[in-house]
C-alpha cells in the first residue's frame, strides 16, 4: 500500500513534467500545424547549457535561468532559420525539417560533449517526505509539481486573459482572418515557438536529474512519452495535455514500480496503439463538435 502511494506521488510529478512537454508540442501544433519532432533535441541543448553554467558558477538556479534563456533563443532561431522553409502546402516538410534538426543538434552535442552520461545534481534532498508513516514523494518531486503547476497557470492566464494570448489563439485557428484584423501572424507564430521551446526546455531540465543523466539522446524517450501524452489528450487541447500527462505519468510510474522500468517503452507503445485505434482524436478532444 505504501508502495502504491509512493508510486502515485512519483507518477504525479513525472506526469507534470510530461504534461509540460506535451503542452509545448500542443503550443506549436496549434500555432503552426507542425508536430515539432525536434523538441526533445532542442530541450537537450538547453539542458546542456544548464549543466555547463551550473558547473561554472556552482549555482543550480543560474543554470536553470540560462537554460530557459537558451531555450527561448533556440526557439526563435529554429523558427526563423529552419522552419520558415517548411512549405505551407505540406505538413510533411515541417516534420522532415525537424528531423534534420534533431540530427544536427544531437550529433553536434555528441561531437562537443561526447557520448558519456553526465549526472545532473539538484539542490534537493531525494529521500521521500513521510506523511503519517507513509512515504509520499521527494522534495524534488514536490518542487517539480509546484513549478509545473505554476507554469501551466501562467500559460492559462496568458492565453485566456491577455491580448497577446488572444492574438495567438486567433492566429492559430484562423490565420488569414487574423491578418485582416491586424494581427501580425508571423510574429505570433514566432512567439509560439519561443514559448514552446522554453516550456519544453524546462520539462527536460526537470526530468533529466531523475533519469540516467545527461547525454545527447537523454530526451529521446521524453519526446516519445510527450508525443503519446499529446495524442492521448488530443494534439489541439492544452487541457488534454495536462490530463493526459498525469494519466500517462502515473501509468508509467506504476509500470516501472510493479513490472520494471524496461517495460515502459512497450507500455507506451501499447497505450499509443490503443488510443489511436479507439479514440483517434484523443480522449479529450473538443474539436470534433467543431468539425461536424
Amino acid at each position: 500500500m505504501d508502495r502504491l502511494v509512493f508510486l502515485l506521488g512519483t507518477g504525479l510529478a513525472r506526469g507534470a513534467v510530461l504534461a509540460l512537454f506535451a503542452l509545448a508540442l500542443v503550443l506549436i501544433w496549434r500555432g503552426a500545424r507542425v508536430v515539432n519532432f525536434a523538441q526533445g533535441a532542442m530541450a537537450v541543448v538547453s539542458t546542456y547549457v544548464a549543466f555547463e553554467v551550473t558547473s561554472l558558477t556552482g549555482s543550480y538556479w543560474l543554470g536553470l535561468l540560462a537554460a530557459l534563456l537558451a531555450g527561448g533563443l533556440l526557439g526563435f532561431a529554429v523558427e526563423r532559420g529552419v522552419m520558415r522553409f517548411a512549405s505551407p502546402a505540406s505538413p510533411l516538410s515541417g516534420v522532415i525539417l525537424a528531423i534534420g534538426l534533431v540530427m544536427v543538434l544531437q550529433s553536434a552535442l555528441g561531437i562537443v560533449f561526447g557520448p558519456d552520461y553526465r549526472p545532473m545534481r539538484v539542490p534537493f534532498d531525494d529521500s521521500a517526505i513521510v506523511v503519517g508513516g507513509v512515504p509520499l514523494l521527494s522534495p524534488y518531486d514536490l518542487f517539480v509539481l509546484v513549478v509545473a503547476v505554476a507554469v501551466m497557470g501562467a500559460l492559462a492566464v496568458l492565453f485566456r486573459w491577455t491580448s497577446l494570448g488572444l492574438q495567438m489563439r486567433a492566429a492559430a485557428f484562423a490565420p488569414e482572418v487574423s491578418r485582416l484584423l491586424g494581427v501580425r501572424v508571423s510574429r505570433t507564430v514566432t512567439v509560439g515557438w519561443v514559448l514552446s521551446s522554453v516550456v519544453g526546455s524546462l520539462a527536460a531540465l526537470l526530468l533529466v536529474p531523475t533519469s540516467l543523466g545527461l547525454n545527447p539522446h537523454a530526451t529521446d524517450s521524453l519526446f516519445v512519452l510527450g508525443f503519446t501524452v499529446a495524442v492521448v489528450g488530443g494534439l489541439d487541447s492544452p487541457v488534454g495535455a495536462l490530463v493526459g500527462g498525469v494519466t500517462v505519468g502515473v501509468a508509467m510510474s506504476l509500470v516501472t514500480g510493479y513490472l520494471g522500468a524496461g517495460l515502459v517503452p512497450i507500455a507506451v507503445l501499447v497505450l499509443l496503439v490503443l488510443v489511436l485505434l479507439l479514440r483517434p482524436a484523443g480522449l479529450f478532444a473538443a474539436a470534433e463538435a467543431r468539425r461536424a
Partner: protein, 368 residues
Amino acid sequence: MTGRQRLPGQRSLARTLVLAAGWTVVALGGTFALDPFRNYQLALVAAYLCATAGLTVLVGATGQLSLGHAALMAVGGYGYALTVNALPFEGLPAFVLALLAGALASAVVGLLLGLAAARLSGPYLAGLTLAVVVALPAVASTWSTVLHGDQGVHVAFQGVPDGLRRVVALEQWQAMVAVVVTAAVVTGLTVLRGGRFGLRMLAVRDDEVAARLSGIPAGRVKVLAFTASSVAAGVGGAVLCFVAQTVSPGAYTVGFSLLLVVAVVIGGLGSILGAALGSVVIVLLPWLIGRLTANLPADAAQRLDGNLAVLVFGLLLITVMAVAPHGLHGALVARRRRRSSRRPTRDGPGPTEEPAPRKVLVPTEEQR
C-alpha cells in the same frame, strides 16, 4: 491507343518487368567487377533499398511518413533468423522460406500499426512508428528467451552453393542474392504503384474527401499502402540478416531509421530511383567520412565517429528540404527537361515518361 489510359509516370506491366530484368542483369554483372568490400557495400545498398523503396512509395503515394522503418526491418530480420534457425534443412529452400516468414512477420506488424495510425492523416503515423523504434530494445530484452536481448539472434553461416564456389566469392554471392531479392521487391512496389491500387493511393493523397466520395475506401487504401511498405522493409531486414548473419536491436536504432528518411528525402520523395540513389549515399557517405577522420587523434576520432556523418546528413536534409524539395531525382528530371526543351522535339514538349513527383506531399488540412 490500346490498353487502358495511364497517368504520366505510369508504365505498362510489360515495360516494368523488362526494365526490372535489365537493371537486375546489370547489377548482377556489376558484382563481377567489384572487390569483396564493394560487393559487401552493394549488398547493404540493396538491403537498404528494399526499405527506402517501401518508404518512398508510402510517402509519395499516401503523403504519410514513417520514422520506424528500421524497426520493421528488424521485424523482418528476426522473422528470417528465427525461421532459418528452426528449419531442419538448409540451402535455398530454407532461405526462401525464412525470407517469406520475415515478410509475413513485418506484414502482420505493419498491418497492426497501419490500422492504428495510417487511417488518420497528419503526424500520427510518424509518431507511432517512432515509438516502435524506441521500444525495440525493450521488446528484445523483455522476450529475451526468444530474441536474446541486446545480443540479438545469430544465424548459421550460409556459404556459396557448391557449383558456384569456384567462380564467386562469398561477398559477391551475398551481393547477388541481395540484388535478386531487392529487384523482386522493387518490381513488386512498382507494379503496385502503377496499377489500379496506385491510382487509388494518389486519389487519397490528393483529396481524401473527394476520394471517399468517389467510392474509394480511403482508410483501407492507406492501411494497405503501409502494410506493403512494411513488407518491403521487412524483406530488406531479412536480406541484411542474411548478409550480416545476425540481427540485434543495436543495428536498428532511431538513428538508422532517420537515415532511411534521409535517403528517401535526398533521393526525392516518391521516386524509387531516388531511393536507390539515396541508399547509395547513406552507405557511402559514412564510410567516406570514416576514412577521412581515421587519421585524427583517438579522442577526436571517437567523438566524430558516427556523429560527423549524422551532422552532415542532418544539414543535407534541411538543405534539400529548403532548396530542392524534390531531391536528387527531381533535380535530374529538371535538368533533363531543360536540356530537352532547348532542343526542339518532334513529338510534343519534353519527355513524359518520368515526371518529377509533382505534389509529393499532401495538402495541409485547413481548419475550415
